[in-house]
């Protein structure tokens, strides 16, 4: 029964990811595009929960769905008229896009199917990594520690805050 529930959740999430990512790139209203992106990101968070990475799923919801999408919505309201349709695509441009996407799909799909036996294994047992393990790994400088990237990304985020303010502020002298 538990397994059946897992399969139903999987089918719903996989269909949601595919449907919402197609809609996000094909809809002609920009605000709807941002909304469909939000749904696709929520479906991704559900995938992380299914894979037993609870912390990663929480971060995905907090940072992506809570932060980035709100940023997108504000940017849309600041830069464009949300009710307007975007211009119709020329068929040449559309063909180029479809060809590039299909080429990627075929190459990677072939690579997946070629290594089918490696991938077609059942999910191995894993204990859900608890917060103390994650925290210790994130702040340890020894074997398998992530202290240096952690510090580097904190500096990067500071630089990003300053850069965002400097770039987007109004210039009064011109």
């Amino acid at each position: 029964m538990d397994q059946l529930g897992g399969q139903i959740v999987y089918v719903v999430v996989a269909l949601a990811i595919m449907a919402f990512s197609v809609l996000a790139v094909t809809t002609r209203k920009i605000l709807r595009s941002a909304t469909f992106l939000l749904f696709a990101l929520f479906a991704t968070a559900v995938i992380y929960f299914m894979l037993d990475y609870q912390f990663l799923g929480g971060v995905q919801i907090a940072v992506y769905a809570g932060g980035i999408v709100v940023l997108f919505v504000f940017a849309i309201f600041l830069t464009s008229h949300p009710g307007d349709n975007s211009a119709k695509l020329t068929s040449r441009k559309e063909l180029t896009g479809i060809l590039a996407g299909l080429a990627m799909l075929i190459v990677c799909g072939w690579a997946f199917l070629d290594r089918c036996t490696t991938f077609a294994k059942a999910m191995p047992e894993m204990k859900n990594p608890d917060m103390s393990v994650i925290g210790n790994r994130l702040l340890s400088s020894g074997e398998g520690g992530y202290l240096l990237p952690f510090e580097a990304i904190s500096v990067l985020l500071l630089a990003c805050i300053i850069g965002g303010i400097v770039i987007a502020r109004k210039r009064t002298n011109d």
Partner: protein, 105 residues
């Protein structure tokens, strides 16, 4: 019908998401729409990190940390890109990439 979930069943939706991102990146003309396509691609790569970690090396956490740092990088990148877009809209009155020719030489 009783199918075990395997890695391929997570990789294929993620691949599909990446291809949608490529299509949108090439065809959309609004800068924010291009950024949304870019987010789709980044997100599908994050799924792949987590899936490979979970199925091939279940005892380790490296893939999870890669996803974690990629999410933080994506947030930083989006903030800067939106600041640049707002600035560009002030110069050209529209968020369309066709109108951005001030730096052309």
């Amino acid at each position: 019908m009783n199918i075990e979930l395997n890695a391929l069943m997570f990789l294929i939706p993620s691949l599909f998401m990446f291809c949608c991102g490529i299509y949108g990146f090439i065809t959309r003309r609004n800068m924010i729409a291009i950024l949304i396509s870019l987010e789709l691609m980044l997100n599908s790569v994050d799924i792949n990190f987590a899936v490979f970690n979970r199925f091939l090396f279940p005892g380790q956490l490296d893939g999870m940390f890669f996803s974690l740092f990629a999410i933080a990088l994506a947030a930083a990148e989006t903030a800067i890109a939106i600041a640049i877009i707002i600035n560009a809209v002030r110069l050209s009155r529209d968020a369309d990439v066709k109108d951005l020719s001030k730096m052309k030489f």
